[in-house]
C-alpha cells in the first residue's frame, strides 16, 4: 500500500479523514434509548465537529464490546431496534460527516430472506452509508463482504489489534479501505483513564503504510486525543465516553456536542504540537 500508483480513488471516508486530519470519529449505538433520540444525537455529534460518525446496529451477542456499549445495545434491543428501523434512521439523517455502520457479522448475513451479505450491503448503500465495520469478521473470512462492498462503493474498515503483526498485518493492510481502525489496547471497548503504550507501538508498526490510521478503544478525553494524534494517528475514535453521556446526561444532545468539540480541540492541539515540534527540530530556539 505504500505504492500509490495503482491506488483506487479516495472514498468519502478516506477523504473525510485526510481533509480533516486530525479527524474525530464518533460512535453511538442506534436505538439507545430510541431511534428518534439517536437522530438528535447524531446531529449533535455532527455539529460538534465529528468528521465521521459510526452508528452501531445492535446485535445481542457483542463479544468485542465492554460493559458500556453492551448496556447501550441492550437498551436499543429492548426499545425494539431492528435493522430496517436502523436503515430508515439513516435514510432520514443529513449530516456533513459520512456515516458508517458498525455491527456483527450475523446481522449482515441475516438481512434478507437467505443468509447472504448482499442485501445488507445494497440497503446500506441505498441509505447513504459510506462504510461498514464488523468487529467479528477477520480478513480471512471477509471475501464475500468485501466483494459486495466493492460493488456498491462502500468501504470495509478492518481493525488492527496490538497482536496483529508480521504477515497478518501485511494481509490486513492490503485489504484496508477507508482507514485502518487501530485498536489502542487488548480487550474490549470502554473508556479508560489513560492512553495505552500499545497505541504508540501499533502506530509505529503502521507508519510505513500510506493509509489513514484512526485509534479507538479507551479514548475518552481531549487530552487522550491530543496524545494519540501526537503519536502519529490521523484520527481518534470515541464511543463509550459518548454512550456514558447518552445514558447519564440531563441534556444528552447538548453534552454530546460539547464533548465532540472538546475531543476535536484535543486532536487539533495534538497536531499543532507536532507542527511546533517539526518546526523546532531544525531551529530549536524558534518558538
Amino acid at each position: 500500500m505504500t505504492d500509490d500508483s495503482n491506488a483506487a480513488p479516495e472514498s468519502d471516508i478516506e477523504t473525510a479523514i485526510r481533509e480533516n486530519d486530525p479527524a474525530l470519529i464518533t460512535y453511538i449505538t442506534a436505538g439507545d434509548p430510541s431511534l428518534e433520540d439517536t437522530k438528535r444525537y447524531v446531529e449533535a455529534l455532527d455539529r460538534g465537529g465529528s468528521d465521521l460518525i459510526e452508528l452501531g446496529l445492535p446485535f445481542s451477542e457483542p463479544v468485542a464490546e465492554g460493559a458500556t456499549i453492551q448496556a447501550a445495545i441492550n437498551r436499543a434491543l429492548d426499545a425494539g431496534t431492528t435493522p430496517e428501523g436502523f436503515f430508515e434512521l439513516v435514510d432520514d439523517l443529513e449530516t456533513e460527516a459520512p456515516l458508517l455502520v458498525m455491527t456483527y457479522y450475523n446481522m449482515i448475513l441475516q438481512y434478507g430472506s437467505e443468509p447472504d451479505v448482499r442485501p445488507f450491503v445494497e440497503r446500506a448503500a441505498e441509505a447513504g452509508l459510506s462504510g461498514i465495520i464488523v468487529p467479528d469478521l477477520p480478513a480471512e473470512e471477509a471475501d464475500p463482504l468485501r466483494e459486495a462492498c466493492d460493488d456498491h462503493g462502500l468501504d470495509l474498515v478492518f481493525i488492527v489489534a496490538p497482536t496483529t503483526e508480521g504477515e497478518r498485518l501485511e494481509t490486513i493492510m492490503s485489504q484496508v479501505s477507508g482507514f485502518a481502525y487501530v485498536q489502542a489496547r487488548l480487550g474490549t471497548t470502554g473508556a479508560r483513564a489513560d492512553v495505552s503504550t500499545a497505541t504508540h507501538e501499533s502506530l509505529e508498526r503502521l507508519s510505513e503504510y500510506d493509509v489513514p490510521k484512526a485509534v479507538g478503544f479507551g479514548v475518552s478525553e481531549g487530552d487522550h486525543a491530543a496524545e494519540i494524534v501526537e503519536a502519529g494517528a490521523d484520527g481518534v475514535i470515541v464511543g463509550s465516553a459518548l454512550i456514558d453521556i447518552v445514558a447519564g446526561s440531563d441534556d444528552p444532545a447538548a453534552d454530546l456536542e460539547a464533548k465532540a468539540e472538546e475531543l476535536k480541540r484535543g486532536a487539533v492541539r495534538g497536531a499543532e504540537s507536532l507542527t511546533v515540534d517539526a518546526e523546532d527540530t531544525p531551529e530549536p530556539e524558534q518558538p
Binding site: 446485535f59 445481542s60 451477542e61 457483542p62 463479544v63 468485542a64 465492554g66 453492551q70 441492550n74 434491543l77 431492528t82 435493522p83 456483527y104 457479522y105 450475523n106 446481522m107 448475513l109 441475516q110 438481512y111 443468509p115 468487529p135 467479528d136 469478521l137 477477520p138 480478513a139 480471512e140 473470512e141 478492518f158 481493525i159 488492527v160 489489534a161 496490538p162 497482536t163 496483529t164 503483526e165 497478518r168 490486513i172 485498536q183 487488548l186 480487550g187 474490549t188
Partner: protein
C-alpha cells in the same frame, strides 16, 4: 485419533470448515492466538510431538479413569426387547465426559507455554473438569458461569472452588451458557498473550471444534472396540444427547465412516467405505415446546439442529436459534448443560448431509428418562444424558436390534433441579418425591 499417518491427518484437519459450517469469526486481536493454537494442534495432537498424546492418554488412564466400561443394560434390554449398551462416561473422574477435553486442552496450554486457564461453563460440568485438570497440572484457572446456572448448579460451583478455581458469575442476559461464553471471549481478548481459553464443547472458531472432538473421540473409539468384543458386530444405532455437541461428536466421530456414503469415509478417517451401517441419533432438548415465541425472542427449547437456521455465533458459522433479523434467542432446557442457542459446526454439517439424524425429546421425557435409568439400572444419569434415554423410550422401535447409548455424565449435580421439576409434574417413572420433604 490415529497418529500413524500424520501427513494425511494434517491435510484433512487443516480445513477450517465442515462444508459451509465452521470458520473463524472472532475479533482480530484473537486471530494470532487461533493461529498459534492451530499450530499446536497440528504438532502436538495430530503428530504427537514431544509425546504429547502419549502423556495425555497416560493421564486420562491414571487420573481420568479411562477406559470407561460399555455396559449391557439388562433391564432396559428386556424392556425394549433389544440389546441396549450404555457407554459409561459418568464413570470418568469428575462424573462426566468433560474431563477428556479439559485435561487435553489444559495439557496443551502447558505445552504451549501459556500461564493461565479460563473457561466458561453451563451446567458446571465443564468448569468442574477444567478446574480439576488445572489443579492436576498446576495452572491458575478462572471460570465464567451465568448467574442462573450458578444458582441452579451449586454443587458444581463448590467443586470448582474446592479445586482452586475462581468462579465469576455473569449477570448479563438470561445468565446461562451463551452469556458465559461472551464474557470468556472478552477476558480472552484482554489476556490472549498469556491465557488459553478452554472451550467446553465442539463449538467456537477453528481449530476448537476439531481439537475438542479429537480429545472426545476416545468415547466412540472405545465404544466401537467394546461393542465388537461384546456383541461381535457394530451397533445398528448410536444415541447421544446434543447441546453444544461435545459428547455427541466424541461418541459419533469414529462411527461416522460406518456407512456406505464415500463422503464420510474419506473425509472423516481416510478409510474406505465400510460394510456396516451405523445410524447416529443426536437427541436435543425439546424443552417445553419446539415452537418459537418470536415476539419475546424466546425458544422454549435448545433444539438447534432440529429447528435452527444458519448464522454466525461465537466464532463459527453453524445452526442457531435466532430471530429472522439475526438476534440470538434465549434458549431453554431443564438441563443447564444443553441450554445453548448454538451447536458445533461439524454437527450442523453432519445433520445437513443426513449422516446424523437430529431428534428431540421434551423436558418431561428427559425427567422420566432420568428416573427410569435410576430405578431400572442403578445409574443416576445427568439430565443431559437423560434426553438420550428419553428418546430410547419413545423411539426404540426405530433403532434396530443393537443400540449404544452414551451416558455422558452422572446426575448428582442435577438432584435439586430434578426434585423441583419432578414435584411440578406427574411423572410415570418418578418415585414419590414428596417423601423427601419429610
Amino acid at each position: 485419533m490415529s497418529t500413524s499417518d500424520p501427513e494425511h491427518n494434517r491435510e484433512r484437519d487443516s480445513e477450517s470448515t465442515f462444508g459451509d459450517y465452521g470458520g473463524q469469526y472472532v475479533p482480530e486481536a484473537l486471530m494470532p492466538a487461533l493461529q498459534e493454537l492451530e499450530d499446536a494442534y497440528e504438532r502436538y495432537v495430530l503428530e504427537n510431538e514431544d509425546g504429547f498424546m502419549d502423556e495425555f492418554r497416560e493421564r486420562m488412564h491414571d487420573f481420568g479413569g479411562r477406559p470407561t466400561p460399555l455396559q449391557r443394560a439388562d433391564r432396559l434390554s428386556e424392556r425394549y426387547d433389544r440389546e441396549i449398551y450404555l457407554k459409561r462416561e459418568d464413570l470418568v473422574h469428575g462424573g462426566a465426559h468433560k474431563l477428556n477435553n479439559a485435561l487435553g486442552q489444559v495439557l496443551l496450554a502447558k505445552y504451549m507455554g501459556k500461564e493461565r486457564i479460563i473457561a466458561e461453563t453451563g451446567a458446571g460440568q465443564h468448569g468442574t473438569a477444567t478446574a480439576m485438570a488445572a489443579a492436576h497440572l498446576d495452572m491458575p484457572c478462572e471460570i465464567y458461569m451465568g448467574r442462573t446456572d450458578v444458582n441452579r448448579q451449586r454443587p458444581n460451583v463448590y467443586r470448582m472452588r474446592m479445586n482452586g478455581a475462581e468462579v465469576n458469575p455473569v449477570e448479563a442476559g438470561s445468565g446461562t451458557l451463551k452469556e458465559a461464553i461472551n464474557e470468556t471471549f472478552r477476558d480472552w481478548a484482554t489476556t490472549v498473550e498469556t491465557t488459553h481459553y478452554v472451550i467446553g464443547s465442539v463449538v467456537g472458531p477453528h481449530p476448537f471444534p476439531k481439537l475438542v472432538r479429537d480429545f472426545q473421540a476416545v468415547i466412540g473409539r472405545e465404544a466401537r472396540e467394546q461393542i465388537r468384543e461384546k456383541a461381535g458386530r457394530l451397533p445398528d444405532s448410536v444415541v447421544a444427547c446434543a447441546g453444544g455437541g461435545s459428547n455427541t461428536m466424541g461418541t459419533f466421530h469414529e462411527f461416522v465412516p460406518d456407512c456406505a456414503d464415500p463422503r464420510f469415509a474419506n473425509e472423516s478417517s481416510g478409510r474406505s467405505p465400510r460394510d456396516e451401517d451405523v445410524d447416529l441419533y443426536a437427541v436435543e432438548a425439546g424443552g417445553s415446546s419446539l415452537e418459537i415465541d418470536a415476539e419475546e425472542g424466546l425458544a422454549p427449547n435448545s433444539a438447534t439442529l432440529s429447528t435452527g437456521t444458519d448464522g454466525v455465533l461465537h466464532g463459527a458459522m453453524t445452526k442457531l436459534l435466532q430471530s429472522e433479523e439475526g438476534q440470538i434467542m434465549e434458549s431453554h432446557s431443564v438441563s443447564a448443560g444443553l441450554d445453548y442457542a448454538g451447536v458445533g459446526p461439524e454437527l450442523s454439517y453432519l445433520a445437513e448431509t443426513g449422516r446424523v439424524t437430529p431428534v428431540s425429546v421434551d423436558d418431561e421425557a428427559a425427567l422420566n428418562g432420568f428416573h427410569r435409568l435410576s430405578r431400572l439400572e442403578g445409574i443416576i444419569p445427568a439430565l443431559e444424558s437423560s434426553h438420550a434415554l428419553g428418546y430410547l423410550e419413545e423411539s426404540h422401535d426405530e433403532l434396530g436390534d443393537l443400540v449404544v447409548v452414551n451416558v455422558s455424565g452422572r446426575g448428582d449435580k442435577d438432584l435439586e433441579t430434578v426434585l423441583e421439576e419432578t414435584e411440578k409434574r406427574d411423572l410415570e417413572a418418578a418415585p414419590d418425591v414428596e417423601v423427601f420433604d419429610g
